[in-house]
Each structure stands twice: as structure tokens, then as C-alpha cells.
């Protein structure tokens, strides 16, 4: 208890994931902190026209925040700008929303994931440059699943310790791993052994690796989300229909 009390008095590294208006002038902030995981904060007066928090409580910006209280919603005391990341735009911004939605859906409140926080910070910086977006997303999805306890078996075949053959074709059985495709099989997911090996070492240079791992990750994320669909994915589909 003493340790956590002391921690609360120091500013904590955090990102804003999402905000909701609350009453006339306040905001409810969903924040992702390095040491305390995802927390809910009440930012009083943050929507007042002259509030300094307006230009600070922005998503995709590294912040140092302090809060007090316990329970579902803590009171935000201060938020300090850390800087270094330009505002996301275009496809980088959309991808950022997707990462935030994944964190909002998958992380429980007050469950710290320091490694994931560091990777998120890295991913946001990468998205700000609007380059190598797909690789950034795949790496994040893979790491997130591992953090949640669904670590993927990628470089050995399911049920054995045989290394994956880069030249063979595989399908992916959830919770088990790669299974070689036999003639006559008609799997929904088809991956080359090379894709699996690249994915296990986070090597996304090959465009085939990128497109195959995208399908694999969509399948896995969808499976662990259950029946709930992702707004950000639905959103992109609707936009393409216009």
C-alpha cells in the first residue's frame, strides 16, 4: 500500500485512449498508464474554453499525469505534455484508433502491462510518420495477444516440436499452432511456412508476409473478441462504400 501511495504522488507516463464529454465542462478520460494499466479519470473543467487541458488531453500524445482517489473513476490532478510525437493524421490516425480500440476492448482496468505500454509508445511514434503502418500493427497485435496470455506458437508445428518448414503451406489452429495443409483441405487461413517464421521474428519486409499475417491476425483478434465487432473495422468498411 505504501508503495502504491508513493507512486501516485509522482507523475505517471500515460496516453489518452479516448475521452467522453461529462456534464457541461468535464471529460471522462480512458487512459493507458505505464504502471497502472488502463484507468478511468474524471477531468473536471477540461472542456472549459480556456482550460489548459484542452491542448493536452489528446490521444496519441505521451503525457505525464497525476490523479487521486480510488474506485472506478479517479480524479485527474494534472497532465503534463511530454511531446516528441506529431499529431497523427490520415491512415496513421485511423490505425491509431484501431490500436486504442484494441486496448479498450482487451485490457482490464488497473492491470499493468509495462511492455505493452512501451510498444504502444513506439507504435504511435511510428504511425506519426505514416510509413510501415501494416508492420507496426501486426507487431502490436502479436505482442498484445501474448500479453493477454494467448501467445502464438509460430515457428514449430502444432502438437510436435518440428520446426516449421519455410517451403510448406500451413493453416493456423487457434490455441494450438501451425498445421500443415494436406491436399483436399480447404482451410480459411492459409500461410506459408516462411510467413510464420517471419512473424515469429517480427520480420515484415516481405509483402507476402504482410498480407498473410494480416489475415491471420484479423482471424485471431476476431476470435478472442468473440461476438463483439470492432467499430474501427466497421468504420473503414463503411467509408469505402461511399
Amino acid at each position: 500500500m505504501a508503495a502504491s501511495q508513493r507512486k501516485l504522488q509522482e507523475p505517471q507516463p500515460a496516453f489518452v485512449l479516448h475521452t467522453y464529454p461529462y456534464r457541461e465542462t468535464s471529460l471522462i478520460v480512458e487512459a493507458f498508464t505505464r504502471h497502472h494499466g488502463r484507468i478511468g479519470l474524471l477531468a473536471k473543467g477540461a472542456r472549459r474554453p480556456k482550460s489548459a487541458l484542452r491542448g493536452t488531453l489528446l490521444a496519441f500524445q505521451p503525457l505525464l499525469i497525476q490523479w487521486g482517489g480510488r474506485g472506478e473513476l479517479r480524479g485527474l490532478h494534472s497532465a503534463e505534455w511530454q511531446g516528441g510525437v506529431p499529431q497523427l493524421k490520415g491512415i496513421g490516425l485511423m490505425s491509431g484508433f484501431y490500436l486504442n480500440e484494441l486496448l479498450l476492448r482487451f485490457l482490464h482496468r488497473d492491470d499493468p502491462h509495462e511492455g505493452l505500454f512501451d510498444l504502444y509508445a513506439e507504435a504511435v511514434s511510428a504511425l506519426a510518420t505514416n510509413t510501415r503502418i501494416a508492420a507496426t500493427l501486426r507487431r502490436f497485435e502479436k505482442f498484445l495477444l501474448g500479453e493477454l496470455g494467448y501467445a502464438l506458437t509460430l515457428d514449430t508445428e502444432a502438437g510436435s516440436n518440428n520446426p516449421v518448414d519455410p517451403g510448406a503451406s500451413y493453416t493456423y489452429v487457434i490455441e494450438k499452432g501451425p498445421v500443415q495443409i494436406r491436399s483436399g483441405d480447404n482451410p480459411t487461413i492459409e500461410l506459408s511456412g516462411k510467413t510464420l517464421i517471419d512473424l515469429s521474428s517480427d520480420n515484415y519486409e516481405d509483402p507476402v508476409t504482410l498480407s498473410q499475417s494480416k489475415l491471420l491476425m484479423r482471424h485471431l483478434v476476431g476470435h478472442y473478441l468473440g461476438s463483439r465487432s470492432l467499430h474501427t473495422r466497421q468504420f473503414l468498411v463503411e467509408l469505402q462504400q461511399i
Binding site: 489548459a52 493536452t56 505534455w81 499529431q87 490516425l93 467499430h231 468504420f235
Partner: protein
Amino acid sequence: MKTPSSLEELVEALRRLPGVGPKSAQRMAYHLLQHDREGAQRLAKSLGEAVERVRHCDKCNNFAEQPLCELCSSTRRDASVLCVVEMPGDVAMMEQAQAYRGLYFVLLGRLSPLDGIGPKEINLDRLVKRATDGEVKEVIIATNFTVEGEATAHYIAEMLTARGLKVTRIARGLPVGGELEHVDSGTLAQSVIERRPVD
């Protein structure tokens, strides 16, 4: 003692206003009935009339009483530029700034992927129709500089540039007369990133 049912109904009705809870609604109802019956009549009448008459302008989507709002039917505006804003209040602010002589399109919202607010909820298809009517040459996007406003701006820009229109975005940076000493870090940081050559 039982509260008369029309009073109860009034309290319930007032609670539909944003930010009004049961206590405030009750206070408003008592005030109107006890101290300001005339005001209550006026409120009832104007509310009824407004609901009856106010509609959306066919061109700009803003609130209007006619098929076309006053701005859209004016002959003194420049019909070749269209400024896209989120809310009717933004039109009022732009007009007050007196820097713009073109026409508007009011989205009445913004895209917000995390809240499930997509293109269907904010009339983007109507905007495309309006912007491609042949008269409009340039579209100025004046959505807010929030992440949602930026997402909205990006997609409008994509859709309209693909249809051959010139699309611009209002500038962001230090406020006019602003001193660096008093500006927030986020604004200052972005103003450095988006710096431009001095002409």
C-alpha cells in the same frame, strides 16, 4: 401527497434536456408554475412552433425554416467555395470572423470510430452530392482540431479530392496576438511541426 400527473410529466419532459437531472428538472417545473406562468406559456408555444417549423436546409444541412436557409439563398455569397463545419455554432463563429464569403455545409457531428459514429451518421453522402454539384470549386474543411475532427477532415479530403475538387484545411497554430509564454505545449509543438516559409 401525490404529485399531480401533469406536473410529473413536465418534470420528466424537462429531464430530456442535456445536463438536467431529476432535481434540476423539478426546480425548473416549480419555478415555471409558481413564479412565471407567462414564461411557461411562451416556452410551450415557441417550443411547439420550433419543432413544427425548423428543418434542415436542403443545401447546407443547417437548421432552417425554409427549404433553403438565408445564407444559401443569398446572392451575395461566393458559391464556388464551400466550408465544411461540424456544428451550427461553428457557422456563427465563422460569420463573426468575417473572413469568409462562401457557403457552408454543416455535418451536425463528426466521425468518431471509437464511438461507432461512421459516415452514415453524419451525412457524408449529402456532402459529396452538394460538393459535386458543379458550382463548388474549393472545399475548405473547418472541422475541429480534435482527433475526431482530424479523422473527419481526412476522409472528407480523400473523398472530395478523388472527385477532382480542390480541398483545403484551415490552419492551426498560435492564436492571433498570442504569446509563446502563455500558449499550451501541444499547440506550440504542432505549430513548429507545421511551420511554413515566411513570405
